[in-house]
C-alpha cells in the first residue's frame, strides 16, 4: 500500500513544477531548458537555510528570493537571445549551477549530498507527504487554469504565435516573460520544498540532465500549453518511470535503459506533435 502512496506523493510533487514549466515552454513556446537548474538552486537554498537557521520560514523566504533572482536572470536572457540560442544557454546555466554545487564542498558537501534534511513537523509519513503534495498540486492546477483563461494567458499565447503582431497590439513582451518565468520558478520552489524533505536527502544527481528530458517529455506528450493534458501526462509518465523498477533487469542496466526509453518516448511524442509543437508562420 505504501508503494501506491509513494507513487501519489512523487506524482503530486512533480505536478506543480511540470505545470508551471508548461506555462513557459508549452504555452509561451519559450525554449527554456533550465527548469531543473532552478529547482536545484531552490532546493539547496531551502535545505541549507533550514539546517543552519532551524527555521522553515527563513528557509522558505531564502528559497523565494533565490527563485525570483534566478527567474529574473533567465527572463532577461530570454529577452536578450534568439530562441534557439536561449535554449542552449539555459542548458549551460543548468550545467554551471550543477558545477558550482558539486565543487563548493564547504557549503554543499559536493557529490556527497546532504543527508538528514529536516521535515516540516506535519510531514512524517508517506501518506502525509502524498496528501500535502496533492493539496499543493490542486492549488497549482486551479491557479494555472485561471492564468490560462486570463488576459495574461492570451497575451503569452499571442506572443508565442506571432511576436511582432502581438507587440504591435501593445502586448508587453518583457512583462509577459518576467511573469511566466516567475510562475515557473514558483512551481520549482513548491517541488524544492517537498522533494528533499520526502527523501530526507538532497543530492545533485537528482537534478541531472535526464530529469530535464523527463519534463520536456511531460509537456510535449500532454499537449503543450494544456493544463489538464500536462497534468495527465505527469501522472502517467511518473507511474511508468516508477514501474520500470519492476523490470527483471540488473540494476546497472536500469539507468541506461531508462535513458533510452525516455529518449525514444520523447522522439515519438515530438514526431506525433511535430505540426503543432511550434507555431508555423503563415507564408501567404
Amino acid at each position: 500500500m505504501d508503494f501506491y502512496w509513494h507513487i501519489i506523493a512523487i506524482a503530486c510533487m512533480t505536478i506543480p513544477h511540470a505545470l508551471a514549466y508548461n506555462l513557459v515552454f508549452g504555452k509561451g513556446k519559450i525554449l527554456h531548458f533550465g527548469p531543473i537548474g532552478v529547482s536545484l538552486v531552490a532546493s539547496y537554498a531551502v535545505v541549507l537555510t533550514a539546517m543552519h537557521s532551524g527555521s522553515f520560514i527563513a528557509a522558505t523566504l531564502v528559497g523565494i528570493l533565490t527563485v525570483v533572482l534566478l527567474s529574473l536572470f533567465l527572463a532577461w536572457l530570454s529577452l536578450r537571445l534568439d530562441q534557439d540560442a536561449f535554449g542552449v544557454m539555459t542548458i549551460a546555466v543548468h550545467l554551471s549551477l550543477l558545477a558550482v554545487i558539486l565543487n563548493w564542498n564547504g557549503l554543499t558537501r559536493g557529490a556527497l549530498g546532504i543527508p538528514g534534511v529536516p521535515r516540516f513537523s506535519f510531514l512524517s509519513s508517506v501518506q502525509s507527504f502524498a496528501i500535502a503534495a496533492a493539496v499543493i498540486s490542486a492549488l497549482f492546477v486551479i491557479a494555472l487554469r485561471l492564468i490560462d483563461k486570463s488576459a495574461f494567458g492570451r497575451q503569452l499565447q499571442a506572443l508565442a504565435e506571432h511576436e511582432w503582431h502581438a507587440k504591435s497590439l501593445g502586448i508587453n513582451r518583457t512583462r509577459a516573460h518576467v511573469i511566466a518565468f516567475l510562475v515557473a520558478g514558483a512551481g520549482a520552489l513548491a517541488t524544492a520544498l517537498l522533494f528533499p524533505q520526502y527523501l530526507t536527502f538532497l543530492h545533485p544527481n537528482d537534478y541531472q540532465y535526464p530529469f530535464l528530458v523527463f519534463f520536456i517529455t511531460i509537456v510535449v506528450a500532454g499537449n503543450p500549453g494544456s493544463v489538464y493534458g500536462v497534468l495527465l501526462s505527469t501522472i502517467l509518465l511518473t507511474v511508468l518511470k516508477e514501474a520500470l523498477r519492476f523490470l527483471p533487469l540488473p540494476s546497472a542496466m536500469m539507468g541506461p535503459i531508462r535513458l533510452i526509453l525516455f529518449g525514444v518516448i520523447m522522439l515519438a511524442v515530438v514526431y506525433w506533435r511535430r505540426d503543432t509543437l511550434f507555431p508555423k508562420q503563415r507564408s501567404i
Binding site: 550545467l95 554551471s96 515530438v270
Partner: protein, 293 residues
C-alpha cells in the same frame, strides 16, 4: 604561462573541430545539434573498442571509429533531423536532446562508466619554451590546423564549397539553379558528425573517455558559435580557441598570489564568456548587427 598556452591550444584544437562542424550545420540547416558531445564520444569509444578490445592497428581503428561516427550521423539525420527541420527549425533542438539521451544510454550500456583511454600509459613528452607537450598533442594540434586549411580550401576554392555557400545564402534559389540542397544538408550533417567523432578520438588519445564529457563538449561548442556570430564557421573556430585558453588561464593562474580556482568550475567559463558577449556584443565577435526592420 607557456604551459597554459600549450594546454589551451590542445583543448582549443578539440573544441575547434566540434565548433567548426556545428557552425557549418547551423549555417546550412539552421539546426542546433544537442547530441554533438555524445556523437563525439561514440567516435572515441568505437576507436577505443577497435584498438583496445579487437587489437586492430591504431590507424585502422581511427578509420573504423570515423566510419561508425559517419554512419551514426547519417542514421541520426534520417530519424532525428530530416522529418523535422523543414517543419520548424526548433524541432530538431528538441529531437536531438532525445538523441543525446539515447546515445548516453547506449554508451553506458556498451562501454560502461569507466574511463577508457585509446592509448593508455605514459606519453613521450618534450619541452617547448619551458612548457611540456607530448608527441601526440603536437600531432593533434598540427592535424587540426591542416584540417582547417583543407576545410577553408574546400569551402572557398571548390565547386562543392560554392554550392554550400549558395545553400547557406538561399537554399530555394540554390535549388532552382540545380543544386541538390537536401543531399547537401545530409552531407554537411554527416561531415559535422565525422568532425565530432574525430574530436572524440583526440579526447580518447589525449585523456580518458567518460560519458560525463558529452555535455560540456556540446556547451563549449555552442559558446564558440554564439561568441563567433551564429553560422560564422571561422568566427566559431577562433572563439573555440579563445574559450579553451580562457578556461586554462582561469583555473591555472594563481589569482592575486592568493588562491587558485577549482578545476571543477572550468565549464562555467564558457557560460560567463557567453554572458559577457550578450552584454556587450550580442551579435557575436565576427558578425555585424542585423537590421531589425
Amino acid at each position: 604561462m607557456i604551459q597554459l598556452i600549450l594546454n589551451g591550444l590542445i583543448a582549443g584544437s578539440l573544441a575547434a573541430l566540434m565548433a567548426g562542424g556545428l557552425a557549418l550545420v547551423y549555417g546550412v540547416l539552421g539546426v542546433f545539434n544537442m547530441a554533438l558531445g555524445q556523437m563525439a564520444l561514440i567516435g572515441g569509444y568505437c576507436t577505443w573498442w577497435l584498438h583496445q578490445v579487437l587489437h586492430l592497428p591504431l590507424a585502422l581503428s581511427i578509420v573504423g571509429g570515423l566510419t561508425i561516427a559517419a554512419f551514426i550521423s547519417w542514421i541520426a539525420f534520417e530519424i532525428f533531423i530530416n522529418p523535422f527541420y523543414k517543419r520548424h527549425r526548433f524541432l530538431p533542438l528538441v529531437t536531438t536532446i532525445a538523441l543525446s539521451m539515447i546515445l548516453d544510454g547506449l554508451i553506458l550500456l556498451f562501454f560502461e562508466e569507466k574511463p577508457r583511454a585509446i592509448m593508455p600509459g605514459l606519453k613521450h613528452t618534450f619541452e617547448v619554451f619551458g612548457g611540456r607537450i607530448s608527441v601526440e598533442q603536437v600531432a593533434l594540434i598540427s592535424f587540426t590546423v591542416l584540417l582547417m586549411m583543407a576545410l577553408a580550401y574546400v569551402l572557398h576554392s571548390t565547386a562543392f564549397g560554392r554550392k554550400i555557400r549558395a545553400v547557406v545564402q538561399h537554399d530555394h534559389a540554390a535549388m532552382s539553379l540545380g543544386i541538390r540542397a537536401p543531399l547537401l544538408h545530409r552531407s554537411i550533417f554527416i561531415m559535422s558528425g565525422v568532425l565530432a567523432g574525430l574530436g572524440g578520438i583526440y579526447l580518447g588519445i589525449d585523456q580518458n573517455l567518460t560519458p560525463v564529457f558529452a555535455f560540456p563538449i556540446t556547451i563549449k561548442a555552442y559558446a564558440a558559435i554564439i561568441a563567433g556570430g551564429k553560422g560564422n564557421i571561422w568566427g566559431a573556430i577562433v572563439c573555440a580557441y579563445i574559450i579553451a585558453l580562457l578556461e586554462q588561464f582561469v583555473v591555472g593562474v594563481h589569482w592575486f598570489g592568493a588562491f587558485y580556482i577549482s578545476a571543477g568550475y572550468q565549464q562555467t567559463v564558457a557560460l560567463l564568456f557567453i554572458i559577457l558577449f550578450l552584454l556587450f556584443r550580442p551579435q557575436g565577435l565576427f558578425s555585424s548587427k542585423a537590421r531589425s526592420a
